[in-house]
Symmetry: C2
Subunit: 351 residues, 2 copies
């Protein structure tokens, strides 16, 4: 019915997150979670923080966590902003940097929250069709825009662009903010963080959800020059001053500080991805070149929907979108080696 | 500078949260935190949840936590929505229910985030002057509004209204949503939750930050009929699908379930408040009748600013606003009995 709903939300089509099943045990290859647990130091830090001090508000500025990130990335603390997952960071950034009267541009096949943000925040957008090989249409993202959003690597395609390309984009759009969403950066592509010193219009967004195995903790961060970070803070303090709780701050800081553990799990994911790509290609799949913790694949003999349903019947969840351009493609998260072997076995039955 | 900032935020004056000192040990009576630790069952639940499953996204619908709240309040789960603190809940509600073309009304002296929300979300507002005794100007909140927001009990005055008054407000504004912000409800006033069945325009907002001693965990919730809750979900899923992390969901559910502990700490706070009111009156203070975990007080012989600074010098933080109507008033959170005795001792020196 929608009685009392504001006009703003009457026709909104919200984002649909991947299924989080609770009744049945699935092999979950549908939401790009890390198949390995978080660092033991994270658990320790959280258990330590879980005490009497929970009665007190958290540090709204996330000082310790920002210091950990800044230290790792060679930035100043004033160049880092933390939030409740990178979705919150993106939602803040769309409000902080984009205006109603100029089109925000991003590729047509990308993270499906971007068009939800432009709709919800009353912004215009221009979605640029992909190149025929599903790579990013970078030339068409250059110039005369109200803002640019580029997921690098892109999701769900998994394809990344090089820093020369990111730099081209920054130079071609000098008067607007270019958001580079690096949710999957740790699985093979090069981060644009090093460009922050030279480009005042660059905002780099990262998350603890994937490569730090902390999707359940809700921590993301933006990095950019101090002026952009001040804008992010202005948006946050107009909505909710404390979005990262004490436990999340402590846990995420410990995750950032445990570099060895981080390196070991991301390497394992990359190795399993390479194995999976080869196994799928061996079965006749087309697999896009992935720099992420998932692969995007299609099979000439089967529709995406048939594969999705067939895998689900066999206890394996993957992600599928009904959109015309990618209706025959599946996004398959990289699980453990054993999980991916189970996937291949299920496909053996299906194909 | 503000280069690249959106027009929307250029002139915004964000909310200023109370100081969270980190260098020096203060007696913190400035942010209405609970002076007692959270229930031991909360700590236990968090430590249990702090494990491998943090690699997985949380339940976006907070099912277990909502069931705990619904069970306690005699509601259906579909009538409860959970978020990252009641500030997030309020921010969602302003977007879900209020339109640009009709004025949102609330009392002039109330939670200072409300005018920030109307500014930030591009809404018009009408702030209704308080009655001379600082009670809520309820008659003037009735009728021809685009929405009503009432903190009950009110902050920073501490004064509450009865359910008959809330009901009058609901009846007088049948075509718009009335948000009753019950952040402080557990310290003496009557909750409007029982009215939800009869008033489809009522949204009741509560928090775990005060009476559950969990300001550091960031959990708040809205209660209302299913249609209003669906609107809240629509807003959330247009911004950030998972705003309450796994640890916060587990901890807050345990807090709701430990009714005995909750009753014991809220009673202690109420007893100390009564003691504090009497002690302050004994020193010549005017103290408004509080149904909260703070008192709002002024002294005929001293400015609010002088008392604020004098207390700070003596290691005690309280909250003061520069606004003309209340510039001689202090909001003093109720701490432990010992902390309030220290406050009175400091005032002995000051006055």
């Amino acid at each position: 019915m929608k009685e009392f709903w504001s006009k703003k939300i009457l026709d909104i089509i919200p984002y649909t997150p991947g299924e989080q099943p609770r009744e049945r045990l699935f092999i979950k290859l549908n939401t790009n979670e890390c198949p390995y647990p978080p660092s033991p130091r994270v658990i320790e830090a959280i258990r330590e923080a879980a005490g009497d001090s929970l009665r007190l508000y958290p540090d709204p500025e996330c000082t310790q966590l920002r210091a950990a990130i800044a230290g790792r990335e060679g930035l100043d603390v004033s160049q880092v902003f933390c939030g409740n997952g990178s979705d919150e960071i993106l939602a803040f950034a769309f409000q902080a940097f984009f205006d109603e009267d100029r089109e925000v541009v991003f590729p047509k096949i990308t993270y499906s929250f971007y068009p939800v943000y432009t709709d919800f925040f009353g912004l215009k957008r221009r979605e640029i069709p992909m190149n025929p090989d599903f790579s990013d249409p970078v030339d068409l993202l250059c110039g005369k825009n109200g803002g640019v959003v580029l997921a690098n690597p892109n999701a769900p395609t998994g394809i990344s662009v090089g820093l020369d390309t990111v730099e081209r984009l920054l130079k071609a759009n000098p008067d607007v903010v270019v958001i580079v969403d690096e949710a999957y950066i740790d699985f093979g592509a090069d981060s644009a963080v090093g460009l922050i010193a030279r480009y005042p219009n660059l905002l780099v967004v990262q998350t603890a959800s994937k490569s730090r195995a902390l999707a359940g903790l809700r921590v993301g961060w933006a990095m950019g020059n101090e002026n952009l970070i001040a804008a992010m803070r202005c948006v946050r303090d107009s909505i909710n001053s404390y979005t990262v709780d004490r436990l999340a701050q402590a846990g995420a800081a410990a995750a950032i500080e445990d570099e060895d553990y981080f390196q070991s799990i991301r390497r394992r994911v990359i190795n399993t991805r390479v194995w999976t790509e080869n196994a799928l290609k061996g079965k006749g799949f087309t697999v896009l070149p992935s720099q992420t913790n998932f692969v995007f694949a299609s099979h000439p003999g089967y529709s995406g929907r048939a594969l999705l349903d067939g895998l689900r019947e066999r206890g394996i969840l993957v992600r599928w979108w009904g959109k015309p351009e990618i209706r025959d493609w599946l996004r398959i998260s990289i699980g453990t080696q054993e999980e991916m072997e189970a996937l291949v076995k299920a496909l053996d039955e299906l194909i």
